[in-house]
């Protein structure tokens, strides 16, 4: 395992410090940290970083919000056919992301006969070019990817909620709390570790997302949905610039390392508090 992960990581780090072009593969020139300096001063890299952050946070927020709501509904008393709901709610998650992207692109967002514009049309909204418009493409990508990720958050929250004893709800009900007050004041504090866990899973997954965006927009229009993983792909394969591609990829790794460190710190603190 160490070999299969360690070797590419080490190699990738090495390439990130060199000038490596695929068309001239044998002529590699050592650049030290110049590639990193160049990337950080490159407006395109900064733009892709911004896009990635918006995309990631958008997916995490949407995923958590809808995950909580649906899990809370699902866990309500007297809900029938629970296994039925659960098994169908799972579908977006197991569905191949590339195919998910295709389904959203050609049948949901499509301007002339997509579902979104058809529904919007009922309410008198103008038909939009969701994925072909720089104003809306990133938003549409976030929605599609959140659709793919939310089942995970539903399942985790649902599993956690079902361990909360009914008496707790009864108590809050007697206190006169409505369902949303119960959710906010009683359930959420109990779910804090799970929210943390889910947000990390969603965060890592959205941060590196490639398949869904690639199928939806290919990074366009313009560069409006070019996240870092797509930028790295474009540099490495289309531009054959493996040095810069690895630099971008390693910067992603560094950002994730910081996120991991923050996560572990918070997690530890939470454990300490609870014991």
């Amino acid at each position: 395992m160490l070999v299969i992960v360690g070797v590419p990581l080490a190699l990738g780090f090495r390439y990130s410090m060199h000038r490596v072009f695929l068309y001239d593969f044998n002529n590699q020139i050592f650049k030290g940290l110049d590639n990193y300096a160049y990337a950080l001063s490159d407006p395109l890299f900064i733009k892709a970083l911004n896009t990635t952050i918006i995309f990631t946070l958008g997916c995490v927020a949407t995923g958590i919000l809808f995950g909580l709501l649906v899990a809370f509904l699902l866990n309500s008393r007297k809900v029938r056919w629970r296994p039925f709901w659960v098994s169908l709610f799972l579908i977006p998650f197991v569905m191949t992301p590339v195919v998910g992207g295709i389904a959203w692109r050609f049948f949901m967002w499509q301007q002339e006969f997509g579902v979104i514009n058809a529904i919007g049309g009922i309410f008198g909204a103008d038909a939009r070019y969701w994925l072909l418009d720089r104003e809306t493409a990133l938003f549409a990508s976030i929605v599609s990817n959140s659709w793919h990720l939310t089942p995970l958050s539903i399942l985790v929250f649902y599993a956690a909620l079902s361990t909360i004893p009914d008496e707790l709800y009864d108590a809050s009900h007697i206190d006169g709390a409505g369902p949303f007050q119960t959710l906010w004041y009683v359930v959420l504090p109990l779910l804090r570790p799970h929210v943390l866990f889910v947000s990390v899973i969603l965060l890592t997954s959205a941060f590196r997302e490639f398949d869904m965006i690639w199928a939806l927009t290919g990074g366009g229009p313009g560069r409006s949905t070019t996240v870092l993983s797509i930028l790295a792909y474009n540099r490495g394969i289309a531009n054959q610039d493996m040095g810069m591609a690895n630099t971008i990829a390693f910067t992603m790794f560094a950002i994730m390392a910081v996120v991991a460190w923050i996560y572990i710190t918070i997690y530890r603190r939470m454990l300490e508090k609870s014991t």
């Binding site: 068309y23 301007q111 366009g220 313009g222 560069r223 610039d241």
Partner: protein, 452 residues
Amino acid sequence: MIHYILKPMSWLSAAALISMVGTVSAQDTTIRWALHPGAEADAVVDYFAPRYEEETGIKVVGEILPPDQLRDRMSIEAIGGTDRWDLGYHSPGWFGTFKDHVIDLTQLVEKHGFDVSAYPALVQNSHMKSPARPGEIIALPTTPAAPMLIYRRDWFEHPDEMAAFEAKFGRALAAPSTFAELRDVAEFFTRDAGETLAGKTLERSLYGWSDALGAGAGITRSFIVMLYSTGVSGWDENYEPDIDQPIVAEVAEYFVDLAQNFAPREAQNWGFLEGLEMFRDGRMATATMWPQGVGTVEDPSGEAAGNTAYTPLPLWENNLAGYTQGHPFLGGGGVFIFDTPNSEEAFKFLKWMLQDNEVEFGKRSLQFSRLSHFQSEELRNLKPYYADFLPTFEKVLESVFIRQGIPEWGAVMWNGTTDFITDVYSGDLTAAQAQERWAAQMREAFDAAGYR
């Protein structure tokens, strides 16, 4: 019940693993060719390969790859030394990329009597030679091509439209001879559904001009055609970039204006010829067309068939090189031979197809590459629209840019153009900023290669 599914599956995969090992078998004389999709690829796969096998017993397998994967796949296999393909196809701009992997054809050309002079001089320079392999012949041309402008003759000649145009622009409605005129025409014909065109009410919106604007190759190809028309070459004989001149910013801004205001949004999904279907269906007044698209445009089931006029790309006024019409690059592609044990057999097949069957190849590939193709009465009369199309194509070929086939061409010129026009198009950078970035990268690449 899962166990019952998993068990047979594990046997299946064990069998599959064994067969995987089994496929690594001995080489036979099968010539393998990596192809770009198109009529010429279909001709190879459906016609020439089976006939060659019939005649010689040597099998030819054509593998048609997606356009955006062709170069990468060939590079990967070539760098990896897998001998997967004996023949490869690519656009000459990228020939240099394969400099370490393809063979010199000079001796085979002599030995087997391949007539190089059967090709126009421009095509020889562009599609057979490369500065990356000076003095050698490294490829044989199959599909040299360059784009032209097409427009709807019936609309241009409609009295209502002519009058309206003259009232608005103060001159007669005619095929645009300059890019400035093209903009006027494009603006004039861009209309919403419900407006009138040539006396009829439009059911769907109409667009003034289009070319492929898809991220990556689409927008790059469309723009670079206009870029070369300004008279820049990318760099001069001292490898000093010339793309940082003001005229490049001008053409970029012109292109973005045209693309964002008069082309359909859908064009952002087109990589090459897809948009011509919209021209065929009567939804565009003009378009930039590569010759491979003429079949789509003249599809008898479409509206544009018989109503399409052909003209060379318009002139970029005050261009730096004194061109008298638009100056696209000479694109399309040629075949090269990888360094494999089958290379001589592969060459013999190419010679048989391109030279011994030259008219047949022209007929089936629908491409004109050899002098004899242009002279062949049979070919000239093959399609009813060739009478209009072919003279224009010949005129287009009089003014084309021959790309410098250095290994860095793809990186500095093609990808440089991709980045540059994407930046300007998306508004991420101003044209001046993007130019500066581009020129700096170009210098860096030439320094690293030791040219400067």
